[in-house]
């Protein structure tokens, strides 16, 4: 079947199903086929825009009937590993969930929110907030990413330390399966031991096992106050000790713990002069620490001050300050959030989104930094991120006196160095971002044969016809 025939078939389907739409004009399709950073430019026969689960069922059935046709589910097109991009102008249909974006129900007494899979993460956060609850998952892309994508990539963020990743915030799900049937697992239940944990199959599955159409999400009490501290420390080891102390003293209420090296702070200062570093003295490393509290602000400040004072006494921190206004808190966070952008302006950057045991983070940083510095004089290690959950963005900025392209040609060499250390330390080569197409080969290199076989067995069981996002996550 040619692309034209496929589009004609879609056309007929849309006549039967007037709420289903699709795009086939090249310009109209571009926003769905071009990865948001332009890292990938895909191709598809069409971009379908279903409005209901029945539309999605119809698309799945169409894919089954048309030889070789496959579906590429897409949320907000904010993924970082190309999992959401179609690469086949004849056989691929991108299925954008953007029109299925409604918040359906909030049940505050049950601490649940029900929504369609195309609901924007920011809308879910806002709806929870309106009900005086918290949906504790924040991402830079939250204004654009959608719940189905968030679940399919098991997205994290800065609060994983306290609340877990997307999969930990899910109670129920509705999925269209490869045979066109709809699995209604929309159970708003905290406890249900009546079978396999089927919903978890789809978490982090990157659209390769089914298309999520609805979800029941968990809500949490809103903290009454959030204390934000910016501290200088002399080493990641000190950071680790600070983390554990803060956790003990706050009863597990540390909501975020972000590590930043001085080099990153300098880059931010250089490229974003409006951002002020809130400490006077320099430190080799910095931590942004956030502690939430159910109490009034004064009590939360007292406790955070106690935590910092205790850290000073134990020589865990060199300097530190607590934000005493929302504006100050936002300033602290803007430092952290500006690192990526600032690093981009420093030239070529070779990136790794890795994790190890939290306890081995200092060891990883030391080993990996030494290894890459030995491999190339002048390389600038910019390692920052979610130390609290063992996840670091181990990024390498080019030597200042090197050509960008020449540096980027070294990517494979440095991936080899970094990922081999990760493998040796039992870590993950993709802590947050997933595999998609970007890390397919690397993953196959590191994942055991037994595990790859298990994954293939699952894929064969749930999608024997290979209609869901082939060529992503697993070969």
């Amino acid at each position: 079947m040619s692309a034209a025939e496929l589009r004609a078939t879609l056309e007929r389907l849309c006549k039967e199903r007037p709420d289903l739409r699709f795009l086939s004009d090249s310009e109209e399709m571009t926003p769905y086929l071009r990865e948001w950073r332009d890292a990938y430019r895909g191709e598809a026969a069409a971009v379908a825009l279903p409005s209901s689960v029945e539309d999605v069922v119809a698309l799945v059935k169409l894919a089954r009937e048309c030889d070789g046709v496959h579906l590429v589910p897409q949320g907000g097109n904010t993924g970082l590993v190309g999992g959401q991009i179609a690469f086949d102008s004849e056989h691929a249909i991108t299925v954008s969930m953007a029109r299925m974006n409604r918040i359906l129900e909030i049940d505050p007494a049950n601490n649940t929110l029900t929504c369609e899979a195309g609901a924007l993460l920011a809308d879910v956060q806002a709806a929870a907030d309106d009900a005086n609850k918290l949906f504790p998952l924040s991402l830079a892309s939250q204004g654009s990413c959608r719940i189905g994508g968030v679940l399919s990539t098991n997205a994290g963020g800065c609060e994983v330390l306290r609340y877990g990743c997307a999969g930990d915030l899910l109670l129920g799900i509705e999925v269209v399966l490869s045979d066109g049937s709809v699995w209604d697992g929309m159970r708003p239940l905290r406890k249900d031991n009546t079978g396999y944990d089927l919903k978890r199959l789809f978490i982090g599955a990157e659209g390769t096992l089914g298309i999520i159409t609805r979800a029941v999400l968990r809500l949490f009490p809103k903290p009454r106050s959030l204390m934000c501290a910016f501290v200088g420390i002399d080493s990641p080891s000190a950071g680790l000790s600070l983390l554990r102390e803060a956790e003990e003293m706050s009863g597990g209420e540390v909501t975020a713990f972000e590590l930043m090296p001085r080099i990153a702070i300098e880059m931010v200062e250089r490229h974003t002069p409006s951002i002020r570093i809130p400490l006077e003295s320099d430190a080799p490393w910095y931590v942004l620490l956030e502690i939430s509290s159910s109490r009034e602000e004064k009590d939360a400040i007292d406790r955070t001050e106690k935590i910092l004072a205790n850290a000073f006494d134990k020589n865990l921190i060199l300097d530190g300050t607590i934000a005493n206004s929302k504006a100050q808190e936002e300033n602290f966070w803007s430092i952290r959030e500006s690192i990526s952008e600032s690093q981009k302006r420093e030239g070529g950057s070779i990136k790794h989104d890795v994790s190890v045991s939290v306890s081995r983070m200092p060891e990883f940083l030391e080993r990996a930094t030494r290894a890459v510095e030995e491999a190339l004089a002048g390389i600038r290690v910019v390692a920052f991120g979610h130390m609290g959950d063992g996840n670091i963005h181990f990024n390498l900025s080019q030597p200042t006196d090197m050509e960008r392209d020449a540096f980027m040609l070294e990517s494979e060499r440095f991936h080899r160095i970094v990922y081999d250390i990760i493998a040796d330390m039992g870590g993950s080569i993709s802590a947050e971002h997933g595999i998609g197409i970007a890390k397919l080969e690397e993953n196959a290199r590191h994942k055991s044969g037994v595990e790859q076989n298990l994954m293939r067995a699952l894929k064969r069981a749930l999608d024997p016809g290979g209609i869901f996002n082939p060529g992503k996550l697993i070969d």
Copy 2:
């Protein structure tokens, strides 16, 4: 192959593998074949007692080679639905994990504990405690149950409200698969998005997909103090409001919230005179509320008093008291923990372990109570349990003037009434206990065809030869 031939084969295997043992003497096998309450008396050709993952691999390979032979994994033989009992004297081998009981490693800075699957839950709790951490899963059977069983049944307990079920406390796992390969998923990582969430397949799988041999468990900071309150309320609705208020005011630090009807309290008083009810006035319902805190006791008491005072002001509670010593706290819990035993002494009891949305618990209790009372005059509803996570033990004690056997003959009729209401309300017919063999038929009646097909597809993919616990969980 006859049972005798199977045992001869096992004998030969044990010669090759001197650390592997098995039992074939009828009396020796009894503790492994008899369900702990004597609800089931099973049969097996042998009870194998592996000492290592290699022993388990050898047993799996033996089962593959010997036609029709299957394995029934067993932890502490404390399961409540017969999933751990073998029922075939010719073809079944019970695989008891009891000898693989070591705690292997504790990494406090990573908040993880690694153990073999046969480790006793009580030992895991103690090891965590020694490291000044908390493994927050407590069960009545914790002195006997083992981690593999706890994971395979996704066991809950009283702290699910705060910490989740067993599956939420797991980071990594090692499993022997049906082809005899070992999946090493022992990753002590909080974040790892490199594939399907394979470890969750085995959570609640009741030994039907593989044999768990090791696990990496999550640890938490130990609360500095635990405040326990016993309150009288006038209805489950008031209880629900109290729960949400307590959650708000404590920032989600409500660790347990147990509902008890007055009839249960009266039964406890009747059968355990040593237990004192700590309130003077009667109430139609009672709640045992536990709030943990990272602060000194005085602060925690203050806060709990505030929570109760607030509840009084809003007419949510009729009476209440806070335990002011460990002994008092234990007394409060002993009331809750004596309900089952006391109810047993009141004659026949027809039991249901069900869950609904927390917000619909009052509605369920009202509907189900009315329905069973209409069905049989004099029936005594004893509904108690984990209201905080929507799970109630909806038990029915016989009318005082009825023959026990005659009442128990009504079991099917009452299951029909109760489970039909549960199904209508989108609840679960087995919130905690699992399916095993006890609820196989009931589950098949309620679970959608799509879901049963999905489960069968998984079972076929992971255990095509049907060697793992056939006849349990799914047909």
